[in-house]
């Protein structure tokens, strides 16, 4: 654990924290975004802490459970951290679906915040 590069440690603790909040009380996720943060949710864009929290809070399910299959983290030239997550989720009683999520993390005033967040279900078109 101690041998892991710092961006791996920060990235994976962020990921753990993010999904823990998402699955318990996603209205609290505002704490990790800032006013210039961008979220692209299934192709739909929103910007700013308030808009992002509204989008996530209004998703039409009561319970959600994420399970992380794999995560990768990289340092960027401007000292940010890029993280990609592949996992599965279960919303209420629906069948399990795969998803991909990408985060860009930035250190502002000694705290790590998420400036960019892109989410997609791992579904393919048909017909």
């Amino acid at each position: 654990m101690g041998d892991k590069p710092i961006w791996e440690q920060i990235g994976s603790s962020f990921v753990q924290h993010y999904y823990q909040l998402f699955d318990s009380n996603r209205t609290d996720l505002g704490a990790i975004y800032i006013d210039s943060s961008c979220l692209t949710w299934e192709g739909q864009q929103c910007q700013g802490k308030a808009a992002i929290v509204e989008k996530l809070s209004n998703l039409p399910f009561q319970k959600i459970q994420h399970s992380i299959t794999a995560q990768d983290h990289q340092p960027t030239p401007d000292s940010c951290i890029l993280s990609m997550v592949v996992g599965q989720l279960k919303a209420d009683e629906d069948p399990v679906m795969g998803f991909h999520q990408l985060f860009l993390l930035k250190n502002i005033n000694d705290a790590w915040v998420c400036t960019n967040d892109i989410f997609r279900l791992a579904l393919h078109n048909f017909g």
Partner: protein, 228 residues
């Protein structure tokens, strides 16, 4: 490869042009009991096909209408609608729609408007049945007025997936409506779309003829590592 349903035989929607095949889609909010209704109707020994890469569940059913064998595919979503809007191919070539709400949850009744609008965007004319599910929880709801269906002049059923009330009638009627829609399709859009599709096909055939030598080379190239 994604985007090409022809790779998955179940999703080859060309088959819905054949006389004996009909496609019936289920719409409505999550947890209103769409899958429960399907399972109630199809009862014993039945395995739906979960196509998880598409978030779809297909239920196959064979029946006879006017002495002819009809193969029905019921399409049910597996939750994608909570994250995004439904993919257009869900509606493609559908011959009837069963739209379900939960009498215990008012919001699911309100949302019928949104579902109906989306349905009509893609399928302006197909028969649509409105279904009030979970009436077993409180039979008094059957005294209530649900004006949505009346306003739009749509058939309306009170059902219970839990105890089976009206379930067989609902599905039998849905199948009959789908078959009769198919036989006397008044849907001008359908005809236009069909013509457009044929037109494109003809064009494609010509193009393919021209490209065939390139394609063959490409295929051979691809095949090499496997044969080696």
């Amino acid at each position: 490869m994604a985007g090409d349903g022809h790779m998955v035989p179940e999703l080859d929607q060309e088959k819905y042009d054949a006389d004996e095949n009909v496609k019936i889609i289920c719409l409505g909010d999550s947890a209103v009991g769409k899958s429960k209704l399907m399972e109630r109707f199809l009862v014993d020994g039945f395995r739906p096909q979960q196509l998880s890469t598409f978030a779809l569940t297909l239920y196959k059913y064979t029946t006879t209408v006017d002495g002819k064998t009809i193969l029905v595919d019921f399409w049910d979503t597996a939750g994608q609608e909570r994250f995004q809007s439904m993919h257009a191919s869900y509606y493609h070539k559908a011959h009837a729609c069963i739209m379900v709400f939960d009498v215990q949850r008012k919001i699911t009744y309100k949302n019928l408007n949104t579902w109906y609008q989306e349905l009509r965007e893609y399928r302006p004319e197909i028969p649509c049945i409105v279904v009030a599910n979970k009436i077993d929880a409180d039979l008094k709801v059957t005294q209530k007025n649900f004006n949505f269906a009346k306003k739009l002049n749509l058939p309306f059923y009170f059902v219970s997936a839990a105890d089976g009330t009206n379930v067989v009638k609902l599905f039998t009627d849905a199948i009959n409506l789908a078959v009769s829609y198919k036989q006397n399709s008044q849907d001008f859009m359908d005809q236009v779309m069909q013509e457009l599709e044929n037109f494109e096909l003809e064009k494609k055939v010509e193009e393919e003829e021209e490209d065939i030598s390139d394609k063959e080379e490409y295929d051979n190239h691809l095949a090499k590592p496997h044969t080696a």
